[in-house]
Each structure stands twice: as structure tokens, then as C-alpha cells.
Symmetry: C2
Subunit: 342 residues, 2 copies
């Protein structure tokens, strides 16, 4: 089989280290025989790590040297200015130059956003990139954006997010009519703030599947396929969810390890608890898309393990197969044509 | 024992109905022998409901007739104008007139906010009321405000919230040094929006126990005793938490009812699962405080059952005992004196 898809992997970003990134890359190329991965970073270390994983002769793994690394706390502006040979920057350059189809990085989100924007540029008609990921719901999953790229958004930005989220739901899920919700609060008198109200008018007019306001709990109900909000609210909501899930997991563990009887109960319930854990495993949802760029960039969680990181690579592969940026452009163009025809 | 504390109960607000409100009132007066409750609403219905509950001769329960009811979807402004004899309004009037020490209502939040503000007025130095409640955490609980009263808040409002939240943590928990966190997002470059950054400066200068920025997951970690945010973010975060918890509960149930083996496991694990459920039971956290008013107003969840509603009444009783509004005033006064002394 020909190697149709090339993924550039920022191997030095994130806290995970090569003992996570390299096994993840090996898993991904095994699962996808038409994919090759260029691991970008310190050549000597990468060569050693690949050898240690017994994959030196794997033709699907390439190495591209980069002499620098962006720190997790480094300012985006500083990274952009001073780290022109960072693994992140070189990986993004490979996408820009057409050598790779997508970039995956677990690095510093701010730097990844800024560098992606600088190197790849925005799609025509999109003002800002948005971070989008899918979250588990009662009935499947819900796409949510923005998760932290944009602190303040106006109505037009929220409209663009809803358009991009719809394209992703269509491309990845094959869902032709994703129901789009606008995150809001349900207190009676005070339905939302000004930009949400204005965005609702834009969505009503321009998004055929706009399904109205969503509240926080709707993310997990499966009533909507895409939920749109500004990055501040989205990030708080995402982190809050992680916090609740982690606390509940800790409580379950505490209750099941309380005494001999509960330990026995845990033993009996183990397969059930495991099945349950698999269903809400955040690692299965790793890999957030930076939407709106002229290229595919996937952000992996900074502390991802190999299983989680491989999932992020798979998200990138899927978006390449589905040609997500072009589909966003087309969707926006047809929206603009419709608007002008009116 | 003398009846030291009187609670005015808006018996007709909310979706719960008298078969919830009346048993909750009976429970609360049984648990608090020095408390009497004035149930405000339709006299005939209340008399019948109290009789049906076998409490006609309970000297701790009184009835105050009110001919109207505020609808759950009614605009606050309309309720304020047209429902001057609503159970909500009459209950708040009882607090204003000094007949009752606190009001508990499960009614329409917007109307309750607006009517409370109109009837009771704000405390000196507080611009807006905030909705505050405690949420379970890994180590105890976290007070969070605002949960939806104020969509847009400036830095000064967030400062006032942090002050009120600290007073509540001190009064209710006896925690002399509550650690206050300001809810923010942790994306590297873009640490929060303008009002959060400004609020951080105010808190740094004026709140001795200000402990820095909190992220969404910190609500449940127990790293902070009080977390402050605007009402839009707070409401989304609260509802998101409910959504996650409900989804997880549904998944646990699904996994344990999948087949014969899992049903057996559920049987064995039942006491553990019940202990776990008790720990995250949202009903135990029912009863949000409308802080900043010249009087104590507690909002119960609209769909609360008798156990949950009784908890909301207990929150009111506790705030009466601890004299929360006066303590907020004192705290604010001493802050202002310190500021002027500088």
C-alpha cells in the first residue's frame, strides 16, 4: 500500500516524553497502514527511542531533526520569536510546505495556537482558530468549541465556530444534520449575555440545524451534536467536567476500599467497574482540533500516555482523510453565496 | 424552648408542590426545636396539606394566606408588577417587616432575585446579589458564587462576591481563613479576560486569604474554600457538573444492569454504591444563598424533594443563627476602614 498520509509529530512538546510519543506513533502506523509519521525533534534521542521500542526498521517512521524545544510555560510570543527550530515549529513548517498533511503536538497550547496561526494562516473568512473536541454523552458524543483559544468572542466568532463544528461533526461522524446548540444560562430573566443573544440571531439565520440554547448539562445529555461557546466558558466547563469525573472516580475507589466487605464487593464488581471506566476514559477523547487554520493541527493533552497520544494521532489521520479544512472553506463559501443571493 | 427563629416559606413557588414543601417544613421544625415556619400560600390548600401530613396541631407551623403565585416562566418584571400578593412576595415582606428571619423559596430564580432586591434592598456597599452554594469536593466542600444572578460582572463585583463568600465560609464552616480562588482559565498565553485580571489585583490587595487563580477542576479538588466567578461562567460550570454526574450515574446503572452477572455484582456492591451515591447526592447540597441582601433568602432547587427542600430550610436556619447579612456588612465596613487608613 502506498503511504498516502504523512503526519508530522512534534515529538518534544508536552510533558510526556519520547517513551510515550514513540510507542504512540508505532501504534498509529500499525493501525493505519497507509500512514507514515515524521517524528520531529532531537535526532539522536529519537533514534535511540525508536531503537529501544524495536522499531528502527519500521519504514512508516521517519525522523526530522529540530534543535529546539518550546517550554510548557514559555510565552507564545517568545516561542514564535526565539524558537524557529523548535520541534513544534518544524512540524508545522512540514505541513505548510506540503510535506506532511497534519501536525500533532502535546506542547504548550498558547505557543501551538500562535505558531500555527503564523505558519499556516487562517482559512478565508475565519477570524480566529478555535479548539474543538468531542466529549462523551448519554447517547454518543458532543463536539464542543471553543475550549480556550479565545477568551472574548463576539457573535460573529461564535457563528464561525458553529459552522466549523458542524463541518467536523459531518466529516468525522458522517452526521449530515448536526444539531448545533449555543451555550447559555437558563436563569429566567437573564437569558444570556449580549453576544450570545446576537449570536443566536446569526445562527438562526445562517445555520439550518441551529437547535437553540444549550445549558451546561446539555453537553452530556446528547441533545446537541455541536455546542458552541467562548473559550473562557468552554475551558471552565471542560475543566469542571474533568474535576467532577476525577472526584467521582476517587469516591468510588474510596468506598470500594473502605473495608474487607467493600473490597470483596469491588472484586465482584471489577469487570463492571472496568467497563464503566472505559466508557468515560478521558484518554479515548484525547486529541483536540485547532479549527480554522489552513492545515490540520491536533493538540494532544500535555500529560497523555501512549494510548491517549495514539488517539490524538488518529484524530489527525481522520481529519486528513475527511479533508476538514477544505470542507470548512466550502461550507463558508456556500454560506456566503447564499447570503449574497438573498 | 422559645421559638427564636421564624422562617417564611414560599410554599407555592417551584414545581414541587405542597406534598414536598409541607413534609420538608415538618422535618425542619423537628430537627430545630427553636424554629417555627410560616408557610405562605393558598390557605385552604395549605391547611389541607398540613392536615394530610398529620401536623395540624404542630405549633411550629403557621399559615399565611397569599392569593397569587409566580409562574416558573414568568418574567421577573411582570411578577414584581402584577403579583403583589404572591406567596413569594408575601414571604419576602414577612422578612422585611421583621416577622420572619429568612425566606426560603423554590420559585422562579429571576423573580426571586428581583423581588428580594426590591423588597429587602441591598446591603450597603454591595452592588448586586450573588447566588452562592456549596459543592462537594475531595476534602469537604467548596463555596461557589455567582451561580447565575449576574451575567456580566466587573472586577469590583467579583471582589464583593469574594468578600461575601468568605463571610459565608466563616459563618457556616467556622473556617477562619477561607482560601479564595478566582475562576480563570489556564491556557498559557491568555490567562483570563480583562475583568478577571483586574479582579485579581483587587483581591490581592483586599482579601488576606486570596489564594490565586482557580481552574474548573479546582472546584472539586478542595484546594480552595471559596471560588468566585461571574454568573454566566458559574451557572455553566454548575450545570456542567450536574450533567457529568448524571451521565456517570446513568452509565453506572447501565453497566450494572447489563446482564445476569452484572446484576449479581450490583447486588453485592449495593451498600458500597449507596454509600457512594450519598456522598455526591445533590439533594444534600440543596439551598443556594442570595447573598448581598438586607435579609436572608435561600433558593431551593425547583424540583427538590422533601429531603432536599428540608436541607434548604436548614441552610436558612444556619444563616439566621450565624447572622450572615450583618457579618457581611461588618466585613465590608472593616475593609473600607482599612482601605481609608492606607
Amino acid at each position: 500500500m502506498s503511504l498516502d498520509i504523512t503526519i508530522a509529530l512534534d515529538a518534544m512538546g508536552g510533558d510526556s516524553g519520547l517513551d510515550v510519543v514513540v510507542p504512540a506513533a508505532i501504534t498509529a502506523v500499525r493501525q493505519n497502514p497507509d500512514v507514515q509519521i515524521i517524528l520531529v525533534g532531537d535526532e539522536a534521542k529519537l533514534t535511540a527511542a525508536i531503537a529501544a521500542a524495536g522499531a528502527s526498521s519500521n519504514p512508516h517512521l521517519k525522523i526530522r531533526h529540530a534543535s529546539q524545544q518550546v517550554g510548557m510555560d514559555e510565552l507564545a510570543s517568545a516561542a514564535l520569536r526565539n524558537k524557529k527550530d523548535s520541534s513544534m515549529r518544524v512540524a508545522l513548517d512540514l505541513v505548510k510546505d506540503g510535506v506532511a498533511h497534519a501536525c500533532v503536538s502535546a506542547g504548550n497550547t498558547g505557543a501551538l495556537m500562535a505558531t500555527s496561526r503564523f505558519v499556516l494562516k487562517m482559512l478565508p473568512g475565519i477570524d480566529r482558530p478555535a479548539i474543538c473536541t468531542s466529549l462523551p454523552s448519554m447517547t454518543g458524543h458532543t463536539w464542543m468549541l471553543d475550549l480556550g483559544a479565545n477568551v472574548d468572542c463576539n457573535a460573529e466568532h461564535l457563528f464561525q465556530f458553529s459552522l466549523m463544528g458542524s463541518v467536523l461533526a459531518r466529516a468525522v461522524d458522517g452526521n449530515e444534520h448536526p444539531r448545533v446548540g449555543l451555550l447559555n444560562i437558563g436563569e429566567e430573566e437573564i437569558k444570556g449575555n449580549e453576544q450570545v443573544k446576537k449570536a443566536a440571531q446569526l445562527l438562526q439565520a445562517g445555520i439550518p440545524n441551529y437547535a437553540g440554547y444549550a445549558e451546561g448539562d446539555d453537553i452530556y445529555k446528547g441533545k446537541f451534536d455541536v455546542i458552541v461557546c467562548d473559550g473562557f466558558v468552554g475551558n471552565v466547563s471542560l475543566k469542571t467536567s474533568e474535576g467532577v469525573a476525577r472526584m467521582i472516580a476517587a469516591f468510588v475507589k474510596q468506598e470500594f476500599t473502605r473495608n474487607l466487605f467493600t473490597r470483596f464487593a469491588a472484586l465482584v464488581a471489577m469487570p463492571v467497574l472496568k467497563a464503566f471506566r472505559r466508557r468515560i476514559d478521558p484518554r479515548a477523547y484525547n486529541g483536540a482540533s485547532l479549527l480554522g487554520l489552513r492545515g490540520i493541527v491536533i493538540k494532544s493533552h500535555g500529560g497523555a500516555d501512549a494510548f491517549a497520544f495514539a488517539n490524538a494521532i488518529n484524530v489527525a489521520i481522520l481529519e486528513v482523510r475527511e479533508n476538514v479544512p477544505e470542507r470548512i472553506t466550502n461550507r463558508l463559501r456556500s454560506y456566503e453565496e447564499n447570503r449574497q443571493a438573498l
